[in-house]
């Protein structure tokens, strides 16, 4: 983050509807030129938080700052932020040009400059030839880019995007991810986007705020959030993980020894634990092992009975059960010399000493979490 104020700052923001708390406490800053994601399952409060930045909702407690100025009580049309709505909300009775010109004209900018700015922005989103069309005559991806141009033409302090890619089909979504990044680099404006798709958040953002049930679980760079989750929720929600509950047996300078429920003992390297994890003897903890960090050998300590293998092109996903019937997953490179084991075999799970990572508490369901592994591998 650069010197001076952050572009957006949330100061202990809380939002309550009657007795329902939508956002318990949001407390983070977003820097200039950042591509920032608010990620979480539906109902986690991410869209409410976005609306409080835009001004469509007022916080029950706490303050919202834009460019260092408290805007908590400022109505949306007087805030220098713009939103790309989930369904784009393009004005159907106006041409593409008039849609994009709406913001500058509302600010009484003279028509000659409006024309220059709109045309310039239509070039940025590559819709120069479509100025005269109506929104209904455009494809989904084109409509999305009109919505982007319409917001960016105002040179906002921050651009807010509410699930911007949710309405597009998979192929177009992937293309638009790249397109969004390109546009953001080109205009250099701070992007704050809301998504429930962790792959999308990992691919596109500089930093991510992971939210769950109105709480901000962790704010950090994608790599950190993936490698060093601070809570069980983050560990399970981001990427795929084997979450193995156990008990701390001993801890010293070299590491922590944990006995898992199936009897296996794992040594977690010193420093490889969440900040809130207690390493005192007898404490209930969870050992996280990412599927791509484990290897399957013919001997070792953790015995796994293979139940299923899924060929994924570059890799094979191997699913098995431990001695106490906990499901675990391993990703084995395909086509290499060591052949992936097949269903019905028993093998042993091994890992590099730096792989295990310690989290406080036990998960609701032990074992592997099933999320899209490919999109994470593509990122890291």
């Amino acid at each position: 983050m650069d010197a001076g104020f952050p572009v957006v700052k949330l100061d202990n923001v809380r939002k309550q509807y009657g007795s329902f708390v939508a956002v318990h406490q949001a407390d983070f800053s977003i820097g200039r030129g950042e591509f920032f994601a608010m990620l979480g399952p539906s109902g986690c409060g991410k869209t409410t938080t976005l609306k409080m930045i835009a001004g469509f909702e007022q916080p029950t407690a706490g303050r919202v700052f834009l460019e260092g100025e408290d805007v908590s009580q400022v109505p949306p049309h007087k805030r220098n932020v713009n939103t790309v709505f989930q369904q784009y909300a393009l004005f159907p009775h106006m041409s593409v040009f008039d849609n994009v010109a709406f913001g500058p004209r509302s600010k009484k900018i003279n028509e000659a400059e409006v024309k220059t700015r709109v045309n310039e922005m239509l070039e940025v989103v590559r819709l120069g030839d479509f100025a005269a069309r109506r929104p209904a005559q455009l494809s989904g991806g084109q409509q999305q880019r009109v919505a982007l141009a319409r917001a960016l033409v105002n040179y906002p302090s921050a651009l807010l995007l509410d699930e911007p890619l949710a309405a597009l089909d998979l192929k177009l979504r992937e293309a638009m991810q790249i397109e969004l990044k390109r546009i953001q680099r080109e205009v250099g404006i701070t992007f704050v986007f809301v998504t429930h798709d962790q792959g999308e958040a990992l691919t596109m953002s500089d930093r991510i705020a992971v939210m769950s049930e109105g709480l901000v679980e962790q704010v950090g760079a994608p790599v950190d959030i993936y490698a060093r989750p601070e809570t069980l929720f983050v560990a399970g929600f981001i990427g795929s993980a084997n979450l193995l509950p156990g008990t701390v047996m001993s801890s010293d300078g070299a590491g922590t020894r944990v006995q898992l429920l199936d009897g296996t003992q794992v040594v977690v390297a010193a420093g490889n634990s969440a900040p809130n994890a207690s390493l005192s003897q007898g404490n209930q903890v969870t050992v996280m092992l990412r599927p791509e960090q484990v290897v399957l050998e013919s001997e070792g300590s953790m015995k796994v009975f293979i139940t299923d293998t899924v060929f994924q092109g570059s890799s094979v996903r191997v699913v098995g059960r431990t001695a106490n019937d906990t499901e675990v997953t391993a990703i084995v490179p395909a086509g290499s010399n060591h052949k992936a084991p097949s269903a019905g075999e028993s093998v042993f799970m091994q890992w590099h000493a730096s792989a295990p990572y310690l989290l406080e508490g036990w998960p609701e369901t032990a074992g592997s979490t099933n999320t899209n592994v490919d999109s994470i591998e593509a990122t890291l």
Partner: protein, 276 residues
Amino acid sequence: MTAAHDTKQKWGRGVINGIAGAAMLYLFAPIIVIVVFSFNNPKGKFNIVWRGFTLKNWAHPFSQPELTDALVVSLKVAFISTVIATLLGTCIALALSRYKFKGSGAVNLFLVLPLTSPEVVLGSSLATLFLSRGVSFGIVTVIIAHVMFQVSFVAVTLRARIRGFDWSLEQAAMDLGASPGRAFWKVTFPLILPGILAAALLSFALSIDDFIITFFNAGSLVTFPLQIFGASRVAIPAQINVLATMLLMGSITIMVGALIINSRRNRLNNGSEAKG
């Protein structure tokens, strides 16, 4: 498919078409008679028996001054009351579809009442109210009476049309720096305007041919329906048919015009617009 099945289906279709045709005839026959008899050359005062084709009624459509005066009164009443009712009805419809407020349920109920209660009851009770307040009957009382039922009509039809309107469009406008007023006039209003116009046209038609409520509250004022009703006891001149046909043509032209505008708009805004 078997041949027997085929014939059965053909039969069924024939029956349905027959019934539909009969229903259409039932609906349109009176209108056709009115138009045809505007070209009649009647003997005496009653234009009820066909005596031969003539254009003389159409050459002098305004030859009956009482009839023409009554028509002017009706147009005046319909115009003023439609403007007032459309204004009020639009506000009610917007308020009801945008906000949940205390008493919106009651407003909903009161809106439907004028449409469902018998006109005799509405007309007579309104007349009683005017009498007890010492208001003298005239064009003002008739306009008030018409506005009363037109408001309900405009509000109910418009609310149905803007159901599902995408209010995030207005949010988007404000997000882009438009004041709430500018957001309404530049975005919401143009999108619901066709709905407002349609409701206004229909309520205009309701006003111009209202008889019962008008009868109770007109005093000495004579509107077109009242004039025809009064005159029909002593004479039915063919000019009635001529003026009625002209009114009919006028409303058909307006309806077709509205339809064309609407379908052009819908093609342009295809789907992304509410039914506005």
